[in-house]
């Protein structure tokens, strides 16, 4: 059943992406992005994203996106049961079924398809993601309305995700089937302040229930090596604001801030700034910096000395510890109008970006992206 759903969705997405000429479309856009990630732990991710968008003459818009992530976990230079590397794209970690497993590389593949249709002020979407041990689905409904002569736009969105988790064989954790459900709400307001300034603000609420720890990871508690255990419910909420200012030398500055809190005790602040600049009519560069800081979850300890952890919970996930992180990078966008002396018949956009991420846990990563988008 699960495979049939996957095949149907993949076929549907392929058909949507490949048949722009069948329907009378006013505009058709296709894009491809390659995302390369590598970090200090030796985890490498090769992500391919193929997207298509079709706007019909009656105003109906279809969007489809296929994503393929190939995650390489390096051989672990530590005994089985230690806290393994977790890849940065899918949050996946590797199972260890035999004593030889830790000492060879492990590859995991994720395929995801996302489709949406929008008409006037309503958008509906569906998302499915498939891994060998994780099957996720989500439906989304969003509506928005403009006020004040299109100077204020209010959008409300709700989505519901239901995931099935089937842990693979692992030598020291129970491979029990589980689930995770997520209910998400968001309200976003975008206000035009002046001819050159916009302000965007929003709140998001997430209620998550089900399995929320790594089913393959163990933690040392009072000297014993035991499976990780997180609470089965988590209420997460955040508020964000983003100010966009056009500057008259053909550049723009974007400043944003996010405040996040949840009922596990994690709170965080994220601040970012982006500078976009036209170098020529066809070339745009972007520089950015992002700072992130968070507090620890109530049950996080660097060392658990008492049996039972903290009120029955124990974690080896450093994402629940106190730390800070920096991210900086640059992106180049090129809109060629002529190639090899000839006019480019469609609106094309070539993108290349590099970002460097590092945090106070001595972790660092490089993220490189390149992509092509063509609009007809």
């Amino acid at each position: 059943m699960r495979l049939q759903v996957g095949r149907l969705v993949l076929l549907g997405a392929a058909a949507t992406l490949a048949t722009p000429a069948v329907v009378t479309a006013a505009e058709y856009t296709s894009s491809y992005t390659l995302n390369l990630y590598s970090d200090v732990d030796g985890v490498e991710v090769y992500g391919h994203y193929l997207g298509g968008s079709m706007r019909l003459r009656n105003g109906l818009v279809f969007n489809a996106l296929w994503a393929n992530d190939r995650v390489l976990f390096p051989a672990i230079q530590a005994p089985p049961g230690s806290q393994e590397a977790v890849d940065a794209i899918t949050s996946a970690s590797r199972p260890i079924a035999s004593s030889a497993d830790p000492y060879v590389d492990y590859v995991k593949v994720r395929n995801a398809v996302e489709g949406s249709a929008s008409y006037r002020n309503l958008q509906v979407g569906y998302y499915v993601s498939m891994e060998s041990d994780y099957f996720a689905q989500m439906v989304t409904v969003t509506t928005n309305k403009s006020f004040m002569h299109d100077n204020l736009n209010l959008a409300v969105g709700v989505s519901y995700g239901w995931d099935n988790i089937e842990p693979l064989a692992d030598n020291d954790t129970p491979g029990v089937s589980d689930y995770q459900n997520t209910l998400h709400w968001n309200v976003v307001a975008t206000q035009v302040l002046t001819r050159t300034t916009t302000l965007r603000a929003g709140v998001e609420l997430n209620n998550v229930d089900g399995l929320q720890h790594d089913p393959y990871r163990n933690v040392y508690v009072a000297g014993a090596n035991v499976p990780e255990a997180h609470p089965a419910e988590r209420r997460r909420h955040d508020m964000f604001v983003s100010l966009n200012q056009y500057v008259y030398n053909r550049s723009s500055v974007n400043v944003d801030y996010r405040l996040y809190q949840d009922d596990w005790g994690v709170d965080s602040h994220t601040m970012g700034v982006k500078l976009n600049q036209y170098v020529t009519e066809a070339l745009i560069v972007r520089y950015r910096y992002r700072y992130y800081t968070q507090g620890a979850a109530d049950f996080y300890r660097s060392e658990y000395t008492l049996t039972g952890g903290v009120e029955g919970f124990q974690t080896g996930d450093y994402r629940l510890s106190e730390f800070s992180a920096h991210l900086f990078g640059g992106r180049v966008l090129w809109h060629p109008t002529r190639l090899f002396g000839k006019w480019v018949p469609a609106r094309a956009e070539l993108m290349f970006s590099y970002e460097r991420y590092f945090n106070s846990n001595n972790f660092s990563a490089n993220v490189v992206e390149t992509g092509l988008q063509i609009a007809f």
């Binding site: 992005t33 990630y37 890849d87 940065a88 794209i89 899918t90 949050s91 958008q123 989304t140 969003t142 928005n144 403009s146 004040m148 002569h149 299109d150 100077n151 204020l152 736009n153 959008a155 409300v156 968001n186 976003v188 307001a189 975008t190 206000q191 035009v192 302040l193 002046t194 001819r195 050159t196 916009t198 302000l199 603000a201 709140v203 998001e204 997460r236 909420h237 955040d238 508020m239 964000f240 983003s242 056009y246 053909r250 550049s251 723009s252 974007n254 996010r258 996040y260 965080s268 994220t270 600049q277 036209y278 992130y292 979850a297 994402r319 992180a325 991420y357 945090n359 993220v367 992206e369």
Partner: protein, 69 residues
């Protein structure tokens, strides 16, 4: 209580923006590509950052746009 504070802060922000009216023909700069953010790019970034940090959100959800249509 935390949710109420977040909602109150958002409401204040929206109200504080005032009732400015910018005419459609005055929105040339707002429609420039350097003033818009890619939602797809934001979602891709959120995905890998979520795997490295204990927070989520801020990609903006769907909709909203630049109010310059």
């Amino acid at each position: 209580m935390k949710r109420a504070r977040l909602l109150a802060a958002l409401s204040l922000l929206v109200l504080a923006t005032g009732c400015s009216t910018v005419k459609p023909y005055q929105k040339e700069h707002l429609a420039d590509p350097i003033m818009s953010a890619s939602h797809t790019e934001a979602m891709r970034e959120l995905k890998w950052l979520e795997a490295r940090e204990g927070s989520t959100g801020g990609a903006g959800g769907a909709g909203g746009g630049c109010a310059c249509k």
